[in-house]
Symmetry: C2
Subunit: 389 residues, 2 copies
């Protein structure tokens, strides 16, 4: 957005979502209970944006200036939904890596972890097999008398571990997030990482001696995610800080953003199912609320999205990179002449929204050009309409 | 709706708006304070409809059954807004006498009372002049020592009046509501009334001796509204019950449904302006809240409605009768091939939604047929789409 704003003489406005960053409607009490957290939801955020944009335009005496909304990931969902719900305020939406179909039973629940696994399998079949086999080794260690000490040593933890689950979660996060940010250039979105980090992880695994344990190989691969800069002497696997501000997301996941996920037998993760009952109980324990698994599809739709949007929507870009596991819950096909899916095979989580670099591959340069051209068309039509009326 | 449902083999569902009728979310405490009343708003009502319709269809195993929403007056606004916000749930909306443009500065604030006045002027210029002149006579009486007694006597009140304003409000209500329900047949919507009651009121006024006071003529005309059945021996002008359930509406008017109205010099009512400051203070006093005059247009749009709906909406009927003063805030022109305005010169407040009678004029029969034909087209397209996918 920063790169292309000058082309449009555009004012860039980043509207912070309430309950994230500094936008705490009840100050330090904002996260205190369901009573205050009740105001943390996507509909409220969209209404905030509507009020803010309108008020801002009025204050700037620019009532007829067209507004295009942009967002990636959850922000991409909000951008798409904003265009759907507030077409009188935004003339178009660019929704990057927006998994608006990851709800209810629209997208198969196993698709997310299958996609992560596919990334690793595509990089190296051996790599995929090593990771897939590492969980059993970790489980086996947990039954040893000195299992925790062994795992702590193997994972170079700063402090002795209290639970083997911490090691499991640590590995898990590394593989999932690295798949998401499997960018074509060196980047620093979740963590600093080299270009195509999944390939790099697999190179590490494939390069280790055959005799080494699968778990030690998995650890070495995960270390790339946590320590690409080689500055960590040891790792803190437990009691991490909420660096990605995910506490707010936990609340949203427990109320409206219910995205059931499972691991199939074909994935590189231990097979698992989704129990709404257990999930619901966890939410009840943590926040005293019951999740509403059908709410998002009721409020924003999702089933038969092509037919609904074809008749009803316009001016939307859904961009997805197939390296990103969230792509599986995205809109991957053109819906109409003005609702377009831009899919890149080598793209990752909202890679199009990252700043231009000298090393950007052609397909990425091309994708960004397409987006600019489409937005230009929206503006052209808007001004044409404006003149005629 | 009851008349045409069999043509469609349709299930009719009347969804009661929360905080009206028996739908009290906090029982007897529902109207206690702004804390509970906060849940009384149009967005919440629309969300309720969405959840209920979806759940009902699931329970009836009729997920693919198309839903058309109907509403008159405020209900018509809700129907139109529901189609805009929930196109995945309703395939179309019939919005009768829905003044969705009566907000902010879209429609001139004097248009409502000018329209009431036009009805009376069209019936008889003398009638309009008599009513226009009656207010000054009432004001003059209020300065007499025995003014209240005189007014009580003239208005045949059951109890002596405490305020001349009661007589004023009583007349005012009669003229406004009679204009709204200036139906072509005998009807009983707000009150039992003859066909074209505005004409009947004016016949009463024009039939009285020239020497009679304007106020007594206005009273006689208003009596038609309150006593067409000739069963009232006296009138209760003060301390009426909330027979139309308007307490809830008062709250909505003080929060979101802010519709500024004024009386121009050309209207038959005493000229008046709208002071947001005074209105705001009244709301503060009554409920402890501040009105949000731009909220409805922010949430649902309204400005440049033609351009927005043309690009974005589909499958809507806006029907209006020009006798109805609310028509002035309605959509009176076709917006696209699938967003149609049905305007009848002799129609009144959602007359198309009233049951068929033997005396219905041709234009009304025709209007209803048009509505059925349009809905049939929506269904046809829906089923065609459904088969293709």
């Amino acid at each position: 957005m920063v790169d292309i704003a000058p082309k449009f003489n555009a004012l860039l406005v980043f509207i912070e979502h309430r309950f994230y960053g500094d936008s705490m409607p009840f100050g330090n009490n904002s996260y205190k209970s369901a009573k205050t957290l009740g105001y943390l939801n996507s509909q409220q955020a969209l209404a905030d944006y509507a009020v803010l944009i309108r008020s801002l335009k009025q204050n700037l005496s620019s009532d007829s200036s067209p507004v295009v909304v942009f967002g990636g990931s959850y922000g991409g969902m909000l951008a798409a939904w904003f265009r759907l719900k507030y077409p009188h305020i935004a003339i178009g939406a660019v929704a990057s890596s927006a998994p608006i179909l990851q709800f209810d039973k629209i997208t198969p629940w196993s698709s997310f972890y299958d996609a992560v696994s596919q990334d690793f399998k595509d990089a190296s079949l051996n790599c995929y097999k090593v990771i897939k086999g590492s969980w059993a080794e970790l489980d086996a260690l947990s039954t040893h008398d000195d299992g925790l000490i062994e795992v702590s040593k193997l994972f170079r933890t700063c402090k002795a571990l209290h639970s083997v689950y911490s090691a499991r979660d640590w590995l898990w996060e590394a593989f999932v997030y690295t798949a998401m940010v499997n960018y074509p250039t060196e980047a620093n979105f979740m963590m600093p990482l080299p270009a195509y980090p999944v390939e790099e992880m697999c190179k590490i695994i494939d390069g280790l001696p055959k005799g080494a344990s699968k778990l030690s190989k998995a650890f070495a691969a995960a270390s790339l995610y946590y320590n690409y800069t080689q500055t960590e002497k040891c790792f803190n696997l437990e009691g991490g800080t909420d660096s990605h501000g995910l506490h707010g997301w936990d609340w949203q996941a427990c109320t409206e953003m219910v995205m059931p996920m499972t691991c199939s037998n074909e994935s590189m993760f231990p097979p698992s199912s989704f129990s709404y009952k257990e999930f619901s109980q966890d939410c009840k324990n943590q926040y005293g609320v019951k999740p509403r698994p059908h709410w998002i599809t009721t409020e924003f739709g999702g089933y038969r999205i092509e037919q609904v949007l074809k008749r009803f929507g316009s001016n939307m870009i859904f961009s997805n990179g197939m390296q990103d596991p969230w792509s599986r819950g995205g809109v991957l096909k053109n819906i109409s002449s003005s609702i377009v899916a831009l899919v890149t095979q080598k793209g990752a989580h909202h890679v199009d929204f990252r700043s231009e670099t000298k090393n950007d591959p052609d397909w990425l340069i091309m994708q960004r050009k397409q987006e600019v051209a489409i937005i230009e068309k929206w503006l052209e039509e808007y001004y044409k309409d404006l003149k005629q009326n």
